[in-house]
């Protein structure tokens, strides 16, 4: 394959190269949407920590979270409204823990990106109980998608966390049409264009100088000035 004299890739190659990158990135994104496992390693149960005697379960948008302990086994959900339901059982303990708060949070870089808290007033001191949390993310459904670690927790009246479960959720948007994807693809294509531009000779061409020498102008002007004099 020979490239034009302008350097690789020539002006007529830039658009096809950009289009090829765009198509490649789109195909890359379409693969996990078909349900293929995208992470290496086997699925593992969710990570649960609790005080002894207290058992609880959490369902997220109708799915049981116990088997979603790794990104490969993440619960696939659509963006929009999200619901979480906590059920706890403290019958094994003589003195029941009063549950005062249920919380769910999605983590990004270790920080809580989306948090939803339900405070029970007064605290529930029954042996068994449940809390429902619902959140509407319809406004941000065209903003982002992706795999997120979600942490659901139950907090006692004294503020201590008595039960906690972390699991993974894969938010999949229709056709991956979200703002962040479009912006990232545009930035990627622009950077590919910038790199391609480094190989073009037009980038390093010096601007051509004017053929008229600047010294000739003052002479003519001087003659004209002499004729026009009184």
């Amino acid at each position: 394959m020979s490239f034009p004299r302008g350097g690789f890739p020539g002006p007529r190659f830039r658009l096809p190269v950009g289009a090829a990158v765009l198509v490649a990135l789109t195909i890359l994104g379409a693969v996990p949407a078909s349900g293929a496992t995208t992470f290496a390693g086997a699925a593992r149960p969710s990570n649960v920590t609790s005080v002894s005697g207290l058992t609880a379960s959490l369902s997220f948008s109708g799915f049981t979270t116990t088997g979603a302990g790794s990104p490969s086994s993440a619960l696939t959900v659509s963006p929009g409204s999200v619901s979480a339901s906590f059920h706890w059982d403290d019958t094994a303990r003589a003195q029941h823990i009063p549950i005062a708060q249920a919380q769910i949070a999605a983590l990004v870089f270790g920080f809580s990106a989306f948090t939803r808290v339900q405070v029970l007033q007064p605290a529930n001191s029954n042996a068994t109980g449940w809390v429902n949390l619902s959140s509407d993310f319809s406004i941000v459904r065209f903003l982002a998608e992706g795999v997120y670690q979600v942490v659901g927790s139950l907090t006692a009246q004294d503020g201590s966390t008595v039960w906690q479960e972390s699991f993974y959720v894969h938010v999949v948007s229709t056709y991956h049409l979200v703002v962040i994807n479009i912006v990232l693809i545009l930035i990627a294509v622009y950077e590919v264009y910038n790199i391609a531009k480094l190989g073009s000779t037009r980038t390093y061409k010096k601007p051509e100088t004017s053929p008229t020498p600047p010294e000739a102008v003052p002479e003519e002007m001087a003659k004209d000035a002499g004729k026009e004099g009184p």
Binding site: L28, V31, T38, F109, E145, G146, V147, H170, I195, T203
Partner: protein
Amino acid sequence: MSEHPAVSGAASGAILFVCIVLLGQQFGYVDLSGLVTGILYLVVPAIIGGVIFGILGGVLARRARRKLLAADIKADVVAAKAEKK
């Protein structure tokens, strides 16, 4: 261009690789939930992309300049031959 082509290529490569990692997270390939792993998943590809595209930028620029120089020399030779005639 005001800056060295290798520097420009390295910057573009680093940004390109970070974009690819973030797209991977969006499409479900990469998990950026943890702080340390998330930063590692961004920094390591950025360094790799910077090095690869820095070298590539330098090579492409040198090739383009060499072509430009060759074209200038050729034009000078042609002009000299035309003057002789």
